[in-house]
Structure formats: C-alpha cells, structure tokens
Symmetry: C2
Subunit: 237 residues, 2 copies
C-alpha cells in the first residue's frame, strides 16, 4: 500500500516534468520555424521576437532540472525510473542547445537583412529547418510513448538533413568563388546551415536516448558527430 | 553510526567518479593539444591518433553516467550531494563534446594537409587551443576544490578566446577575399577556430556549474551563447 503510494507519487511527478519538457519542445520548434521564416522574409521584428524568446526557453530548462533533482531526492526512483528522469534532463539540455541555435539563426537573419540576398538560400534553409522541427517533434513523441520504432525513424532522417547541408555547402562555396562580394553573406548562411544540421544532431541524440531507454542498448555508432567534415572532394576524411 | 556509514560510502563513491572525471579531462586536454599540433605540423599520424582516441573518451562518459546513476540509486544522496553528482554528469557531457571538437579538428587537419598552407594559421590556432586547454584544466580543478574564485577566473578568460576568434575570423576573411583559391582551406580553418571557441564555451559552462554549486547562484548572463555572431561591421547584432 505504502509502496503503491510511492509509485504513483513518482508517476505523477514524472508526468509533471514530462509536460514541461513537451512545452519546452513546442517553444523550441516555434523558435526554429520563426527564425527560418524571418530569414526568408527578411523580417526583422520576427527575428527580434525569436531572439528575445530564448530566455523563456533557458528558464524552462533550469526549472526542469530543478524539478528532476527534487524528484530524485524525494522519490528515490529505482534503476529504470531513474534512467527516465535522467533522460528528461538530457533531452532538456538538447532542446536548450537547439533553442540557442534558433536564436543565433535569428541574429544572423538580421545581419543578413542588411546585405544583398543570395538567391534561393532562404527557401532552402527554411526547408531544412522544417525537416529538423519535424524530427524534434517526432523524437519527443517517441520519448513520451517510449516508441523505439518512431525513434529509429528520426535517426534515419538525419541523413536527409546531412544531404541538404552538403548540397547547400557546395552552393555557397560556388557563390563565394564566383564573386568575393558574396563571401560575408555566404559565411553567415553557411553557419545557419551548419546550425540547422546541429539541431538535427540533437533530435537524433534524443531519439537515441529513447532507443536506449526502451531497448537498454545504445544504437551502434551511437553518438551523432559534433559535426561531420565536409570533404569537398577529399574522400575518407 | 549507520548514518555516518552511509555518508562515507557516498563520499567514497563520489571520489571514484570524480577520479574518472579527472581522467576524462586529461584525455580531452591531450586530444586538443595533439590535434592543434597535428594541424600546425601537418602530421597525419598524430591526427589519426586523435581521431581514433575519441572512442575511449566517449566510453568513459558512458561509464561516468552509469556510475553516477548507480550512485544516486544506491546512496540516495540529499539535496547538495545530489547536485554534485548531477554536476559530474553535466561536466562529463561538456568534456565529451570538447573531445568531439578535438576529433573534428584532427579530421580537418588531415584534409588541410592536402592543401597549400595558409601562413600563420596553424600557429594562431595552436595558441588559441592552449588557452582553452588551460581553461578546461582550471575549470576541473575548480570543481574538485569547489573553488568559486578559480571558476570565476576561467569565466573571465573566455573573453580572450572570443577575441582570438574574432581576430582569426577577420584574417581568414581577408585571405578569402584576396584569393578565391584560399576559400576552401579558410572555411576549414574557420570551422576549427569556431570549434576551439566552442570548447572555451564548454570550459566556461563547467566553471559556471562550479559557481552554482559553491554559491547556490547561477552567474548573471548565465549561459555562454551557442555562438556569437561575428558582426563584421554590423553593430548591435
């Protein structure tokens, strides 16, 4: 009886903290979407909104961490439950980083708004962002539903994002080679592409966390790389 | 009596996991140092050693996480002790990311070895790496000694790294503008500089973790940014 009571108290607390995590996920997805929109439409006000909104995301991470620490201290969860709580903290950290990248995209959108536009770049980056927000959303769903198959789907989509990044990298390089006046804008665009790719890595990391939680095993070649080296004709690097 | 026994068991376990963390820190510092050396001396074998060595760092992070989880489950530490254990996990995550950046630097060193050298770049990047490894080392010392002053010193040095990065960014941009044939090499060099700056951010994050642990307060403007936007003459971005 008292044991049951402890269990359900843990479950209730866990639900609370998972709800905060979902809220945080929603805020990050919105940030990414709006940053990409601000970039394509050269919308300064929207970019500023994204930049200012990052603080709320950071604060939510702090609160989630505190709630998790309290939950662990109060409920002393056993092995698997503990793993779930630790996963929540790791996922919150990934979301916070992704939020930072969205903020950075918004900052660069404002800088780019003062330069001549690079044709097609805004649209391509927005498509890439869309893929990444979907991945993030599905990774969080997979976590809540403890769905390893859905998590595996997210993992597989990371390759799509990498391909988009590689295509854009070559495109920006061409623009730079053709006209040195494009270099500064292309450097910013390139960083944006790289940051979107990194958000994809974070979505993948969340998916791998889910797979670990459900199956007890880390997927092979477990961690997404910090970043892959674009080889530009140099194989095997 | 039994209370004392539990306390000392926690302390013993904590010492064990902190020792692993120090070991991991040493490995990451070596990786960064050797990656920078490989880059400057165009030493493929050393670059390959760094690349191959990253797996051991990743495995150590997994082990630290497992030990921490076991420690929490077994010893049910109270509030402050729990915070210390959670800090160990956060610091291990920062070290793991830094190790990934070092690996990435080593990969790019190999790619760059096949291009004509950009004068001065290897030396500048090596100096920047040296500052960052010192910051990492001091941040870990500050953690072990719970020394908020030392942690504050680390935080303040992050500005040095940012300045080095900004100077390099302008230098690479100039090289690219002058001769488009430098663009590819400079893009790689620029990413290396950015990654070193990010390692500095991680050292700062560790230092902030220490300040939080010792003082109970997060430093103002708490998180280092995912990356700062280099404004290149565009103020206020």
């Amino acid at each position: 009886m008292s044991h049951e009571h402890i269990l359900s108290a843990f479950d209730r607390d866990l639900e609370g903290v998972q709800a905060l995590l979902m809220k945080m996920g929603g805020m990050v997805e919105t940030s990414i979407t709006e940053a990409a929109q601000a970039l394509q439409e050269r919308d300064d006000d929207l970019a500023e909104k994204v930049r200012a909104g990052d603080r709320a995301i950071d604060e939510l991470e702090v609160r989630i961490n505190e709630d998790c620490a309290r939950l662990i201290a109060l409920r002393a969860p056993a092995a698997r439950d503990l793993r779930i709580v630790l996963s929540v903290m790791k996922i919150a950290a990934s979301l916070e980083r992704s939020g930072d990248f969205a903020k950075n995209m918004a900052k660069r959108a404002r800088v780019l708004g003062q330069m001549s536009a690079v044709p097609g770049a805004g649209g391509s980056l927005r498509r890439m962002s869309k893929t990444v927000t979907e991945m993030l959303s599905h990774a969080l769903d997979a976590f809540i539903q403890r769905d390893a198959d859905l998590a595996e789907d997210v993992r597989n989509r990371d390759r799509e994002v990498d391909q988009m990044y590689n295509a854009l990298f070559r495109e920006f390089l061409t623009h730079m080679m053709e006209d040195p006046r494009n270099i500064t804008a292309c450097m910013h665009l390139h960083f944006i592409a790289k940051n979107i790719e990194r958000m994809g890595d974070h979505a993948t990391a969340i998916a791998e966390q889910v797979i670990y939680l459900v199956t007890g095993e880390l997927p092979e070649e477990s961690r997404p790389k910090a970043e892959s080296v674009t080889t530009i004709g140099v194989e095997g690097s």
